[in-house]
Symmetry: C2
Subunit: 634 residues, 2 copies
């Protein structure tokens, strides 16, 4: 971990000493609270007793320099604190011993001090003037803003402190569970006085904190670069932070509670991650895979995936996203469907490491009384807050009493499984939130929730869904998968890459840049389709599918393996298509013909589903974009 | 069963023959439907083919006579039917073979015919001019109206047919299960032609119906009274009709489905009558007794009372009429309270014949799955229709999910118990209605419901309730019961008599008349109080209580058995009252004093709860209306 400083800075601040003091495993000593807070109160009193604040030359020195740097709008943190304490007569809000301690020292020494959570620093750091537009995340904000024309402290990723010593970024701020800390003390004192300041600060920290290592480095006009060594443990934490930050953003709609989950993950805690399904179909599609790919990433890092089959709840159905009440299913149907699920998700997840759990294991044994007691823990109003119920009520559709309980049952699953986290589509957030109070009630830590964006289907507008026909099934052939992926609209390329690919952060960034720089979307799709199909059907099949696609579409040639049929002249085109399974229903066939999707290859469109072919005809029928059939009429 | 006709009628209708034909157990022959309805269609066609309807002199004869009787507004039923069939070109609505058959004959013979359900006739019948204002119940109406200035056919109770042959009453109309029928054929023909008409009618009925007996009687100027003998079976049915009609009105708010329940009762069917309670208090009061007195009447007629203890539901509480969610109770508390209930209701009901049932017997065994399946049979919207839930929602109070299921559980109890009927306070109607579809679903006949009026408390305004203090407890002494009954406002006398007394119909009518004719309400209350107290505490105790009351209040004398206390002058009046348990709390004492309810007997009111008595004082303290204490200060 290297820190450098631009030489130009010393033209304006020749006396500057930029001091960095790095601690690993910094922990507040037990029983020292009173002493720390007495010290703070003492400094508050002293400041309030101070005559004219303007006379505090130490701070005005910094302010003059800010002005000289063209940063008059900025404020030295020490000055902000003093204003609060003296003019507004408020005490500082106490945050955390580390923050409270360095605030004390900043007020005591009238020196601006910053502190950074090293776990969240990416690469090397610099103190420098901005080059063009850079990224900065304001304190307590979720998104980055763009900044320029400033003197900043930054890591290889983003600005860590804006306006020299003025604004700390949210990213590396000290959090309740921060433990590896880099302090930054900007001093305008001479070398001897500066060394005294450092000694005083480290002695103060040693007084109140335990730590496993400490290192001090000073940047000055004579020393433009310094380096800190970190322990393996810290390097691991830094790696985890970078990895999970990316994982918790890609394809993700919302993380509840992000801060808590991130701390667990940075700590290297191995989580029990629940993913629950009520088996309702035999045919999984890529809309489901969004969740499985996320789970896969966790599984590969060593977390345990609890694949929960709603063997009980599946029997009477979740009303999610359905506007009519679901019918009840029998036990056998549900278990058959469950097996089909497990077989298919094993394409993405490591089956051997998967913990498959059935909620019938507890619900089949649960008594009516226990269920009523569970129900007594929630209210009608709380349940009716659910979007889907609100929609049903607006539309005058009925809600079965049993359906109202569903979210509670889904929540209670997490109590039985002691889940730490759940990964689920964003439409399940409400249900999964029900788990948290129930777990707390049972003395467990409430689970966190990763709510995934729902994947848009190949039509580019609606959620991927079997009933809308805009889906890519696990069971589709590699050719079909590839073809369908090539058919998505361009604006979905990045979404599909985020939600379905296993690209590294760098690979994904690369794709983004190619997209932004105007690379032909067809080429980007071809790369992505090859990658996704390979994940499902193996690299060999993916390559064959890509070649097949090229032959059929790009070169407008027919594929080699066309099926053929011999018919007499009474057969209609619709009957022929049904006979060879080119369509799944007569209505699909009629619709295709109506939309101009059926033609003679390199010939005319078929306009009527009652179209017949004359004896002697021999030609190739093209159905949709990718299906062909040779017809001979005898 | 006698029928007479006023001689004066023959002054205006000298040629009249009033024919009555009485059948017992009249039942339509199986397989004769087509023939009957072919006949009806044939007569419709014939009438429609008929040239000018004005020429049907047979009917105009009747109409001229109606005019002569001053009943020009009335219409002969035969004419109404012909108008419908010919002018409006509609077929008659087919009701019931008996009605359809006599309608056919009326159209065929152009003679007005009426039919009456003999089970519902009370006493003897007359054809006569009204004497003053009489009672009449229009077809398909629930209440009686007052009629006068008409020629009517009536039984000893009310008008059975208004305007000679024009309007049939609802009371004796033919119903699906009617079987003992009195036909009335008014004829203006001479004797020979009249006999031919009768013969033709009876032959027609014999063609289509089976019966156990038939009798024909003709009233004419020469024969002003006839008599029919009924079988014992029919006499029993008539008695049951009169008895249960009264029982289903007295203190009753609503009967669902009244027609069906009445038919069962007239048939002499012995019912399983459910009365369910969730034991919540040790102290029953007369508000509960309203239900028990009704059940008692049924029990004495041989019906089985299913006294259902909510040993399961009582544990988590019915939200009825409570604006906050109820807390859960434990099993033991509920069972203890249940025993207290049974002990107390045995004062009113015959314990030996009582079937005591606990719903824990099925709910303790019920699985969560079964409960969910039960819940799937109803909807959120249906449950939220309940008044109490609506009120809670309006007031922003919460409804526990378990509470929403309560009505369904209460309903399902009836499925387990195969109840035919339930007797319950009107606030339970919604819950008991839930039973009907569940029973139907289980292949049972849905239970009927008698919803009782809720008893107003002794304050005369609010529902009797323990928390309002306006109640008379089962456990009150006879003196207290009597005193409290004497304190009810006069307007409640009839309500209390209807809801709580065991008066016969005649006795109750008697009380009503005395009340209406201005008898001193105190005397009526004294009679009623004596009767009610005797039911609870025995006749001897009731009489003693009446005497006690007389001594204390009416003659303004002190009772013989006054308690006494010797105190020093430091004791306040409040302390003294608490010492001798004249009040149950200090706040009750303070309130009583504030309201002027504490005084020295035949002396001054006590104005302050800190009032003390001087040494040497000796007097009687009067607390409220009925409590006395001799105080001696030494």
């Amino acid at each position: 971990m290297r820190i450098s400083i631009q030489a130009e800075i010393f033209e304006k601040l020749p006396k500057l000493h930029s001091n960095f003091i790095y601690f690993e495993n910094l922990k507040f000593k037990e029983g020292k609270e009173h002493e720390l807070y007495d010290g703070l109160n003492e400094v508050f009193s002293r400041l309030r007793g101070h005559g004219g604040l303007e006379t505090i030359t130490d701070i005005t020195d910094y302010e003059n320099l800010l002005e000289e740097l063209g940063l008059k709008h900025a404020q030295v943190s020490t000055r902000s604190m003093i204003n609060l304490i003296v003019a507004k007569k408020k005490d500082l809000i106490l945050h955390h011993p580390i923050i409270d301690a360095y605030n004390y020292f900043s007020l005591h020494s009238l020196t601006p001090i910053g502190a950074y959570d090293v776990d969240r620093i990416s690469g090397n750091m610099e103190i420098r003037f901005t080059s063009g537009v850079e990224k900065f995340k304001k304190l307590n904000k979720d998104t980055h803003e763009e900044v320029s024309d400033s003197l900043v402290f930054s890591d290889s990723n983003e600005v860590m402190c804006l306006d020299w010593v003025s604004k700390q970024s949210d990213t590396q701020k000290i959090r309740p569970r921060s433990q590896n800390i880099l302090f930054r003390i900007e001093s305008l004192k001479d070398e001897i006085e500066n060394q005294k300041l450092i000694d005083e600060f480290t002695a103060y920290i040693e007084e109140y904190f335990e730590f496993t290592s400490m290192d001090t480095q000073v940047l000055s006009a004579e020393n433009l670069e310094v380096e800190f060594k970190q322990s393996t443990e810290v390097l691991d934490r830094m790696e985890r932070y970078q990895f999970y930050t990316d994982l918790l953003e890609r394809g993700v709609s919302d993380v509840i509670v992000k801060e808590d989950l991130m701390s667990d993950l940075v700590d290297g805690k191995m989580l029990k991650i629940k993913h629950g399904v009520d088996p309702t179909t035999r045919d999984l599609h890529l809309g489901y895979a969004v969740n499985y790919e996320k789970l896969r990433a966790f599984q590969q890092r060593g977390h345990t995936i609890q694949f929960l089959i709603g063997s009980f709840t599946g029997r009477f159905g979740d009303p999610s996203d359905k506007l009519e009440s679901r019918n009840m299913r029998d036990k056998k149907t549900v278990m058959d469907l469950a097996q089909a699920y497990i077989d298919q998700i094993s394409i993405v997840l490591d089956r051997d490491k998967l913990e498959v759990i059935y909620n019938g294991d507890w619900y089949d044994k649960m008594s009516a009384e226990d269920l009523l007691r569970l129900m007594s823990k929630s209210t009608v109003a709380r349940m009716l807050e659910r979007d889907m119920f609100q929609k049903r009520i607006e539309q005058g559709a009925s809600i079965g009493l049993h359906e109202l309980v569903y979210p509670l049952l889904q929540g209670y699953d997490s109590v039985e499984m002691e889940s730490d986290l759940t990964v689920i589509g964003t439409d399940q957030t409400f249900n999964e939130l029900q788990a948290r109070p129930l777990q707390e009630n049972a003395g467990q830590k409430p689970q966190n929730i990763i709510a995934m964006n729902l994947l848009i289907g190949t039509d580019g507008t609606q959620k991927m869904s079997q009933s809308l026909g805009n889906y890519i099934a696990f069971s589709d052939t590699a050719n079909d998968k590839y073809g369908k992926l090539m058919s998505i609209p361009d604006h979905l390329i990045l979404t599909y890459a985020e939600s379905l690919s296993r690209y590294s952060k760098v690979e994904l960034e690369n794709l983004r840049q190619r997209f932004a720089s105007g690379t032909n979307p067809r080429d980007l799709k071809a790369d992505l389709a090859l990658h996704i199909v390979a994940n499902f059907d193996g690299e060999e099949n993916a390559k064959l599918a890509a070649e097949h696609f090229k032959t059929v579409f790009k070169d407008k040639k027919l594929p080699d393996d066309i099926d053929s049929i011999v018919v007499d002249e009474s057969k209609t085109v619709l009957e022929i298509m049904m006979l060879k399974n080119l369509i799944s229903s007569n209505s699909e066939g009629r619709r295709l013909i109506q939309q101009g999707g059926v033609s003679i290859f390199e010939g005319q469109k078929i306009n009527s589903h009652e179209h017949t072919f004359k004896t002697g005809f021999s030609g190739v029928l093209k159905v949709g974009k990718r299906k062909f059939l040779k017809i001979v009429v005898e």
